[in-house]
Symmetry: C2
Subunit: 145 residues, 2 copies
DNA sequence: GTAGCACTTCAAGTGAACTCGAGGTCAAGG
DNA sequence: CCTTGACCTCGAGTTCACTTGAAGTGCTAC
């Protein structure tokens, strides 16, 4: 029947045992059965925990994730189910992708130019052909001191 | 000469005045000149603050951002300049884009299926043709009480 | 039967990133 | 001169997401 201890879940997911207990206490994962007081997890919890991890890394709060994971009772009309939430979350994720892509381009541009700081790369049109030496236009912002 | 008060910067960037002061105290933006004790910002600070904001939303810590923004002295050899950091950050951003794109697909899939929770969408192959009613496969995880 | 280990609970602590409040300053307007 | 409003500093408080620590439990091995 392949149940797991919290230690095994921790190893499989890369999260600490205390983090997993915390997620349980916060209602992000279902309260597992206990055997002799100890949690016995089914294999599906590994997926749940991984989902939580990815969503966290994407900037979702645990509050958000709880709602996304728990969905709604099936007694509630379809438009209120998690699709509804997905619909609300999608623009956020799209936004994030947009911003991340912009940052990616900026970083890639940074690899090809002579700018000393990120601001320079943003504020000056430092495309490859220009080839200014950094000295020609540094330290305009800081002023004295 | 178009200098700005902190209130104007706050309005233009959408960040609170206290957050802007905090960024200054943390060395993320240059210490602005004071006129009668009050900060007078040049227009470039708006870009800086916006960059900080985007980077924060992408999950960079202030520590990371400080380094990205401040770059290094031009006395330091080219490989140590911000390009170096860009090079280290790029995989992180690419990773983020990958994960965000996966999440986007999941959310989009969620809009087209009958799953009640996000887990269901991940754990079951709930592609449109399958058309299970949710009842056929809910509550497998929780077990008793 | 006792040592060891992985687990348990619960409360308190931590670090990051701000936010808030108190008390004070500065320039303009009535 | 006095008020008003936007700003100032500094220290303490808050929120989130955990982590840590203390004290205890249950099973296995010797």
């Amino acid at each position: 029947m392949a149940t797991m201890t919290i230690g095994q879940v921790s190893t499989l997911t890369g999260l600490s045992q205390s983090a997993i207990r915390y997620y349980e206490s916060e209602g992000l994962i279902a309260t597992p059965a206990r055997r002799g007081g100890k949690r016995t997890f089914g294999p599906e919890v590994v997926d749940s925990v991984r989902v939580i991890r990815v969503a966290r890394e994407l900037g979702f709060s645990l509050e958000d994730i709880r709602t996304l994971l728990n969905g709604f009772s099936i007694d509630i009309a379809p438009p209120e189910r998690w699709q509804h939430l997905a619909h609300r979350k999608l623009p956020e994720v799209n936004d994030l992708i947009q911003r991340a892509t912009a940052m990616k381009r900026l970083l890639e541009k940074g690899l090809r130019c002579d700018c000393v700081t990120m601001q320079d790369c943003i504020l000056y049109d430092c495309n490859p052909p220009v080839k200014l030496t950094p000295r020609q236009r540094t330290a305009p912002a800081t002023g004295g001191a």
